[in-house]
Amino acid sequence: MTTAAEVMVRMGEFAVSRSPGDVLVSIGLGSCIGLCLIDRRRQAVGLAHVMLPSGGPGDMPGKFAPSAVPTLVDALQELGAVRTSLEAVLVGGAQMFSFGNAGAGRLDVGARNDEATRAALDAARIPVIADATGGNTGRTVRVLAGEPRVVVKEAGAGERELFSAGGGRAA
């Protein structure tokens, strides 16, 4: 039995789905990264709400970039996705405030999250096919299983499509 539902992926959590109609959501990503993995042929999707560039994994592997990628890959494979077919879409990694501690050559945590997530994807040989990262605005990401599709919404703006299996890829 499949029931369609909106699944909230909170900070440090991850979720996967192959049920058409399911929507995986991370609300209010600031410096955090919404890491979306998609196998379009098998219509499988996953979303992790990554908080930090290093550390862990502890009891929350989705929290850290280095453990979030392999954890999400494993969960998708269990669901029938094929590793070599996986593609990534990245959302978030903004710098909402520029604190002094980002100085002296140190990147802010949003940029470090982005960098660490891309490095982990690179190590897993998963290409990033679309992204909305950096800048200084918060974002909400929705990953629609079945189609699959990724839409992003910034504060005070409308929802826009970042990736659609049907419509190719958007910027």
Binding site: M11, C32, G55, M96, S98, F99, G100, A155, G156
Partner: protein
């Protein structure tokens, strides 16, 4: 998980109470209206739970963050709902939800942050200095998470001392005021209070 005794929490709460009381007096002088303040509510939570404890992650807020540096590190975060901004901004002679409103709120943060830091330094004997405030208008989740995660390091728990200011004068106007010491900052404060 990191824990503190009731006595330690009470001491930190009292510290935050005096700090935010001083800040409320500064705000009252700025607005020319009485400002009440609630006793700080201490929250000791894992990072991922702390954000949701502050408020609905998708609600729209203006956040002003003031860093405190020196002998210890901390952040003061003020949050203004759109309703609060609509009451507060005219009191400062600016129109709500404009660029200039954002700088007016940043200025509130400047004054309150400086008085808070001053009070904290006086009570503890620590050399503290406020960093110029930063303002952002966005989703609550994005703002609070970015402040908590700014050090870029994992910690098992974060301590938040949350108080509500309430500006008198008809409509609801309650900026929330949060003191967020770094992990080392909590220990430093407790040491100074002789309660480590």
């Amino acid at each position: 998980m990191t824990t503190y005794s009731d006595l330690q929490i009470d001491a930190l709460r009292e510290l935050a109470n005096i700090g935010s009381g001083t800040a409320a007096t500064a705000l009252s002088g700025m607005l020319g209206a009485p400002v009440d303040i609630s006793v700080p509510n201490p929250l000791l939570l894992p990072l991922n739970e702390a954000v949701e404890a502050v408020g609905p992650v998708d609600s729209e807020v203006t956040g002003v963050a003031i860093g405190i540096v020196g002998d210890m590190e901390a952040t003061v975060l003020m949050l203004f709902t759109p309703e609060t901004s609509e009451v507060l901004c005219p009191m400062l002679g600016v129109e709500a939800h404009t660029e200039i409103a954002l700088s007016a709120m940043q200025e509130i943060g400047n004054v309150l942050g400086a008085s808070y830091t001053g009070a904290l330094g006086m009570m503890t004997g620590l050399e503290l200095e406020p960093v110029p405030p930063q303002a952002a208008h966005d989703m609550l989740g994005a703002i609070v998470a970015s402040v908590l995660l700014a050090p870029g390091e994992d910690r098992d728990a974060v301590l938040l001392l949350d108080s509500d200011l309430s500006v008198e004068g008809g409509a609801e106007c309650s900026p929330s005021f949060m003191f967020i010491p770094s992990a080392g900052g909590v220990d430093e404060l407790l040491t100074r209070l002789g309660m480590a």
